[in-house]
Every structure is written in C-alpha cells, then in structure tokens.
Symmetry: C2
Subunit: 444 residues, 2 copies
C-alpha cells in the first residue's frame, strides 16, 4: 500500500479554503472516524491496508485505556502509562491522518462534520464518541462530585484526595479531619468496585506510612449501590465473592441504597442515611456523548445511537456508529451490547471489513458479538472471573486480570511501565509518586 499522506499534499490553493481542515489529497474514499477509543482504534488498525483515506478526529491527542483509570486516581499508575498518543499509533499506517479537534455538529445531508477548528467532508462517517458520566439530572451531585470516565477525571480525584488529606493534617478539628478523609463511591459496577478496593488498599498500606499523624481508622470508604448486588452484569457467585472481599477490606457496602443529594460535605440517601464526606465519586451511570446533528429520532435509551446489524445508523446512509455510543437492538440484544471494551473492539474489527465491502458493493454478514467473559479486581490477589461456565475467584483470577490488562495496553513502553509499577507495588505495597500537580478546585 503506498503512502497517501505525503503524496499530493495540499497547498494553499487546493484545500483549507472556506474553513476546511487541512488534509492531504487522496484518490480514495475518505472514512472520517470521530473518537479514538477502543472501537475507533480497532477500526483504524483494521483499515490500514485498505484503499481508503482514514481521518481520525479526537479532542485528545491520545487513546485512553479506561479500565485502569481508577489506578491513576489512587496514585497506583501515572497517566502516561495508560494513555497512548495517536500519532505514535498511526506512524506506521500509511493511510491514516490525525487531527485534533472537538466536533460541534454533523451535517449528514452535506456529508460534512463541523469541528471547532474547521470542517471536514467525508464519504463515510463513523461515530465512536463513547459515553460520559450520567448524573441523572442531580445538579448538586454533578457540581460537587467527581466522575471517573477520562484521564482528567482520574487526576481530579487524585488531586482532590491528596489535597484533602493535607487539609486534614492542618486542622485540629476531629470532625473535619474525619470528613476530609472519608470517601463515598456511588455505583457498584466494575469502576466503583475497583475504585473502592484501591482506596481501601491505599488506606491500609499507604496512609499509616505517609500520614502518621492520623489514627489509622480515620479514613472510611463507603460503596453505595442501588440494586441488590455488586457487579450485576457478572454471576451471582462473583457478586457474592466481591462483597466478601470488600467487606474484608473494611469497605462499608450499602446495597439497595440510592444517593439523592450532596452539599459538598454531607451525602444524603433515599432511606435517610447521612454520611460526612468531602469526597464523592460517582460511577453510577453513563450516557452517550453526542455531537449536535444527531436528533432524538436516531436515539434509544441512554442517549445511544440505534444501529442496524451492520452498525449503520438507522435512518442514515453512509454513517456508522460503534462502541459504547451505539445500540444494536436485536432479539438477542434487546438493550444493545454491554458498554465495555470487548464489544467495542469487535465492532471496530467488524467495520474495518464491512466498509471496504460496501465500497466494493459486496454484501456483509451481520455483526455477532462473542462474549469472552468478564473480569474484575478488588485488590492485590483478589479478583473474580466469569469465563462462560467457568467461574472462579482469588489469586488465579487476579493473575489473569493482570495479564489480560498488561497485554491490552497499547505500546511496549506502556506495558513496561505498568509492569514495573505493578511489580514494585506487589512486592513493596508502594505506590507511584503521590503528587499534586494541578490543584483541584472544589466547585466546577
């Protein structure tokens, strides 16, 4: 495949006029991909040898490995270990260009997308914009709690946590010390469970060393889940084991409990419970991140875009959606696929075959998701695994979890960094450097 990028490169006269983004000329159809998460990246990788020009647009210049955000939040890993620059990724792909930008709106009737920095015309558009935290309209909570959906969220949690620990060292008021060091996590899915486990380990291993001025029992961690069990997408066995693990780590798990309000100091629940905590982490829901131009007629529950069995947006001709933002509603998947990495990656790979087929007028088989199983970890040597009929927990599950995650991270350098950090932390319970680089400001 010949290099497209340096051939027929635009000059002032041929492009960029009328507010267009500067792009290389190409004789091949242009596939514009919005979002470089698991889905977008798998798609691009698959398209790299096909006769298309791929343009990747993302507001960040890096791919994020979301499953490990909680480790960045709790100072277990540094951000650069779990993000990977797009330009490094595509350096070997001759037909892919990256442009940094935020999508303002989509104009399907003109086959163009309007970014904050100009327009891009497409032959095929792929929406892979993922989800953001859903606060379900609870404004007080949205203003004062922290989500955990991207790397900035993770750093906000880390900075706020470390700042509050320092504030607690300065005050002599025991009640304030207590509130500053208490954590409430809302949502008992994988993000909430893993966050609670990591905080509990921080409390157990780091706090007494770094903050000898506190009594060890000062930091309390609450995990609040609206349904009757944790990790409700996994087996009953995994849920029960996870609950036992977390309680063993002194996490107060409240099931069938709903958080209704937060004033920055006191968390209130539906049943009337009141918890003093200056740290509230919200992992209780997500919603699709939609650019303008995709009206409600294209959407289903949770702001997801309805797609057909070939991932084409229902109602549009040359527009596709995949990953968390897409919902393929079929008899087998009445609620769409689970919003996790595996379906996103499989859909990306599928579409990388399907788009060239469409270009060449060949038929496509429908997309079929292969569930490879689920893993979740609670802490060192503690994890649960559901692999089809095989369900297990403990050291083996934890080892498998570690292995799967290291293998999935992009790039040799990142695998090495994560590996070293985990090895150091495994043998010493030492975490990476707990530093506050940007101070966190309370009210957004």
């Amino acid at each position: 495949m010949k290099q497209l990028r340096n051939i027929n490169y635009c000059d002032d006269a041929s492009c960029g006029i009328g507010g267009s983004v500067c792009l290389p000329n190409s004789d091949y159809p242009r596939v514009l991909v919005i979002g470089g998460g698991f889905a977008g990246l798998a798609l691009i990788k698959g398209l790299r040898k096909h006769k298309v020009q791929v343009v990747l647009v993302d507001r960040n210049n890096f791919h994020q490995f979301q499953p490990l955000l909680y480790q960045v939040a709790t100072s277990g890993l540094e951000p650069d270990s779990i993000v990977f620059p797009f330009r490094k990724q595509i350096a070997e792909y001759g037909n892919v260009v990256y442009r940094m930008g935020s999508v303002l709106s989509i104009v399907p009737e003109e086959n163009k997308v309007i970014l904050d920095k100009g327009e891009i015309h497409y032959d095929y558009l792929v929406l892979a914009t993922g989800t953001s935290t859903n606060f379900f309209g609870l404004e007080n909570i949205e203003k004062r709690s922290l989500g955990l959906k991207d790397i900035r969220d993770a750093l906000n949690i880390r900075h706020k946590m470390l700042q509050n620990l320092e504030k607690a060292a300065i005050t002599c008021n025991m009640e304030e010390k207590d509130a500053l060091t208490n954590f409430v996590i809302v949502g008992g899915g994988p993000a909430g469970v893993e966050m609670a486990g990591a905080l509990a380990e921080f409390c157990h291993y780091i706090l007494p060393k770094d903050y000898p001025e506190y009594p060890t029992e000062i930091m309390k961690i609450y995990l609040i889940e609206a349904s009757g069990r944790l990790l409700s997408a996994m087996s009953e066995k995994a849920s029960a084991k996870t609950l036992r693990y977390l309680r063993g780590l002194n996490v107060s798990v409240l099931l069938n409990e709903v958080v209704v309000d937060y004033n920055g100091e006191v968390v209130k629940t539906k049943s009337g419970k009141v918890i003093n905590a200056r740290n509230l982490i919200w992992t209780a829901g997500v919603k699709g991140q939609l650019p303008e131009g995709i009206g409600s007629e294209f959407l289903v529950r949770g702001n997801r875009i309805r797609v057909d069995e070939n991932l084409k947006v229902v109602g549009l001709d040359n527009v596709f959606a995949l990953g968390d933002i897409a919902a393929m509603i079929t008899e087998r998947t009445p609620g769409g696929h689970p919003q996790v990495a595996q379906p996103a990656i499989q859909q990306g790979k599928y579409l990388a075959r399907a788009i060239p087929s469409i270009i060449n007028n060949r038929p496509n088989k429908p997309f079929v998701y292969k569930d490879k199983g689920s893993l979740a970890t609670v802490g060192k040597r503690k994890a649960v695994a559901d692999l089809g009929k095989l369900k297990f927990a403990g050291f083996g599950a934890w080892l498998l979890w570690s292995l799967v995650h290291i293998m999935s991270i992009s790039g040799f350098r990142n695998k090495l960094l994560v590996g070293i950090n985990w090895a150091l932390s495994y043998f010493s319970y030492e975490k990476s450097n707990r530093i506050i680089i940007r101070s966190y400001k309370d009210e957004k």
Copy 2:
C-alpha cells in the same frame, strides 16, 4: 532518637486555636523550614537525628529536581520521574512534619509565620524559598512567554508546544504553520542551552516520524543571549564547544542580542530583528521569591536576602536563609554564591550542623563553598564539563552528566524510571508519551 510525631499529639484543646496549624507537641525547639528544594531538603535530612522538631512548609507536596525540567518540557521524561513527595522522603525521619501551604507573611518580632491556612510559631526560621523567573518588567513578554522554573512551567511548555504542532497540522497557511512550529529561547545559561538542545533533537528525531505532514525544515529554533557567549559561568572552552554543538544541531544562536518585545506572534530584538514564533521560552533571569515581612533593608540585588557567614539573615536573630534566595556577600563571593544546586545542598548540610550548635551555645565556623565543577549537556553524547583545571567535552562529559544526574535524583523508583527512559531514548531516540493533558491557555 524517639519518634516525636505520635507522642503528645495535639487534641482540640491544645493547638489549632486562634488559627494555628495543627502540629504535634514537642519538648524540643521548633525549626520551621520554608521550602523543600535542594537547600531545604539537605537541611532536613541533616537535622533528622538532632533534638529539634522540624516543620517543613511548601506550597507543593513534592521536591522538584529542577535540573531536568527541560526534559519534562520536551516530553523526554514524565513529571513523576523528577519530583518526589515530601511525605515519602520524611517517612523515616522521626522528628519532621510536613504541612502544605503558601507563606503569606513573616512576623519576626513575634516569631511566627502566617500561611494561607493558619499560623506557625517557630524557635528558628529557615527561608529556602528559591527563585522565580525574572522578566525584568517586560510585561508583554511576561504575559505571553513561558518560564522554566517549576514543573508546571515545564508542563505548560510541553502542552503549548504539542498544541501548536496540532494547530499547524490543521491550517493550510504556510506562514502560520511556520510560526506555530518556531521556537525562541531567551537566555544562554544552562536552562536555555539544554532546552535548545532538547528541542533540536525533538525536531530531528520525533518530528519526521510523528508529523509526516510537515517538511522537516519547518521547525526553527533560536537561542538568544545578551552577552557575548553561552554558559558564561563556565570556561571559554566550554562556551565555544557548546556554541559549536548547537549550531551543528541547526539551532540559530544569536549572541549580544536582547529581546525587547513580544506580541504573541512576533519576537522583536534590540537590534531590530523580527522573528515569527508562537513559542517563546524565557530563561534569561531569576529573582528571589520573597514572602511579605522581609523588607528591602534585608535585600541585595536580584531580591536575594543578605546573610552572614553562618547563613543568618543580617539584621535578624533567629532567622536563616539559604540556597538561591540567600546572598552571602564576602570578599571571596562579592555577588553571593552561584544560584545552582551545589551551594544550596552544601548550605543545607552546613546549617544542619550549625543550628544544633547554636541551640547548645557552641560556636560555628563560617560556611565555605567547595566548587565541585560544572556540567551542561546539549544533547545525546554532547556535553561540556569544567572540573577545576580539567575541562573536557563530548561523550565522556555526557556520560558523567548522565551519571551525576541519575545519582542525584531522590528515590529508587525515580532513578529507575529516569534510567529506563534514558536507555529507551538512547537506543531508539524515542521519547516518552507526548500527551496533552491540560490544554494550555495562551493569555495568562
């Protein structure tokens, strides 16, 4: 030495009243150290076995290894490799407490310091607050250029640089592309020289790989120095060699040239030169960072505090200053000691012996600085060394430079990370992940 921190720990009644910062009770005199740079940290380390209570106050929760800031700015190292949390440092020191805070003012007549978060009384006060960038009153430049004095400066440079490279990819206007990718560095001291060298290597090894859309000659680097030679604190030989190295790396070095104005797009010099550049890095001067309460009667040129031969502030009884902020004016050092790491570390060690002597009414010999020589690097395998009469350059100097810097960084984990990064980069010319986490906003 018994653990002070957990003994007689304050309760609500005994401290923190009237706006005091919560601190453990102690029967020993309190030494309050403001600033945990090279000087402050060496002092604390030296005091750890003496019968004093040491309170360290710093607005950051980490020590910064300033000599490698330029590598963070150019994506060679991640911030966490060159900063080290104070709490990790002092975990083994029984008599040291750390409190995070900014000093608002000093009240020597009441032996107290007022922080943003409360007051602290002291028996002995040590000022080790270092310096900040000096723009010499050039407001336009201060508003639109970037200093390189702390880790946030370094990240600002990195983020602005990467953002401008992305902006340059989007525009079709060649003049704008050019301006966005040009760099002007002002100041030919070690910071400016090392920054210019690192940028030149970025331009040479990273740019063609990551940004194939640019012609390789697009990024131009200017280093502007007011005096007649680079690294004027080193030997003539080192200066000449450095100039040759930089010109060999295609850096345009302008000597005897002064930058007078910058509107964010065009740099103007005294001789009438005009350079299109959206990136201006200012390393041309520093000034002491003074808290209020140290009036001009205590100061000499460059906002430095005048100290006697025992590092006591001239005119105050129990207040000391050391490191970059201090100026010991003697016949041998009419301008004070050089504002670099070595005098700061030696002064810290000296004061760690001098303060216990004062407490025990023993006399102190004057402080004498031992110059161990100077090192500066321009790039891979390129460095200059002045070690007394021994002056050399090239691979040997570069190896020595690398070794000295790795040895000087705090902590095993940081040494390991820096070592791995340097090894990866040595063999592959690959840099660490070039990610923009916080976007840089142009006007401050």
